[in-house]
């Protein structure tokens, strides 16, 4: 077999494996790299940096964000926290003290997740809006909260 054929075989296998392995990846990269979008409208640009955001996330997203080390804030009353919290989460009945702690840990611009006891508890949304008023820019409300986290059997942290 001549060298040219061997090169073609090596290339063929590599192209196949490269594309196939990317295809089965949980977060594949696009085949063609997309350049960072140019913002031409000034209003868009201002809203990108100025508008605070509150978004909702589900259990799966909460789990993957927790893995990345994003801060979790427990909106439940402190007496519930002794039964357990999502690992690394912080909580405080005093919103002022809580916001100081969040600011100290990550500042105002970085995103964090707020959760409460379950789908209907509402305190995570209330806290999210309160924290937004204080000046936090990117808040994610974890729908399902503590209940869905524990029902899924994910790790928890308990304090005596």
């Amino acid at each position: 077999m001549d060298t040219k054929k061997q090169i073609i075989i090596y290339l063929g296998f590599s192209i196949f494996c490269g594309i196939a392995s990317n295809g089965i990846e949980s977060s594949p990269i696009p085949w063609i790299n997309q350049p960072i979008e140019l913002v031409s409208n000034k209003e868009d640009l201002i809203s990108l940096f100025v508008d605070p955001q509150i978004r909702e996330i589900d259990l799966e997203m909460a789990k993957s964000l927790h893995k990345t080390g994003l801060l979790f804030v427990d909106a439940r009353a402190e007496e519930y926290l002794t039964n357990g919290i999502i690992p690394g989460a912080i909580g405080n009945n005093d919103v002022g003290l809580l916001s100081e702690k969040i600011e100290f840990l990550i500042g105002f611009d970085k995103g964090f997740v707020v959760y409460c006891s379950d789908d209907d508890c509402g305190s995570s949304e209330e806290l999210a809006y309160e924290l937004q008023e204080i000046g936090f820019m990117n808040i994610l409300v974890f729908k399902g909260g503590w209940k869905s986290w524990t029902e899924a059997g994910f790790e928890i942290e308990t304090h005596e």
Partner: protein, 147 residues
């Protein structure tokens, strides 16, 4: 010396194979990071760095395996030389343009482009040429050699 030479070439072939396999692993695990490293050279057009980052690490892995196991050594060493020539040109243009970027070579974390990296790749290019131009074939299973 003449009797030893084919065995020295065999050792070079194995070492080259090990280097290619080692260099490929991190890039296969994280092609996105490799694509960013390629993008930093500011020479690949049309966003093709992603496609290159998906294929090149596997090519390195396969030719590494080929060089060690003796499978299609002519093709593997020719590709090895070709890759080295491309890497040399890439690093050379980045060095001449004054870029202070990581080379993305996969051998050591945080290696920067520069003349020492170019010299290293010239040595690998020379090694690839020696393997490709070998007259006596040892321990090659496809196409099969006599020993």
């Amino acid at each position: 010396m003449n009797k030893l030479y084919p065995w020295i070439l065999l050792l070079i072939r194995f070492l080259l194979g090990v280097i290619f396999i080692y260099a490929s692993l991190d890039k296969i695990i994280d092609p996105g990071e490799f694509a960013r490293a390629i993008g930093n050279y500011h020479i690949i057009p049309f966003g093709l760095e992603n496609l290159i980052a998906l294929v090149i690490p596997w090519l390195e892995l396969f030719i590494g395996i080929g060089l060690i196991s003796g499978i299609m050594v002519d093709g593997a060493s020719a590709i090895s030389g070709g890759l080295m020539a491309i890497f040399i040109l890439l690093i050379l243009q980045a060095t001449l343009r004054g870029f202070n970027i990581e080379c993305g070579c996969g051998l050591k974390e945080g290696e920067m482009v520069g003349w020492s990296k170019i010299l290293e790749n010239i040595i690998f290019l020379g090694a690839s040429f020696l393997v490709w131009s070998r007259s006596k074939k040892l321990f090659e299973i496809f196409p099969k050699s006599s020993l």
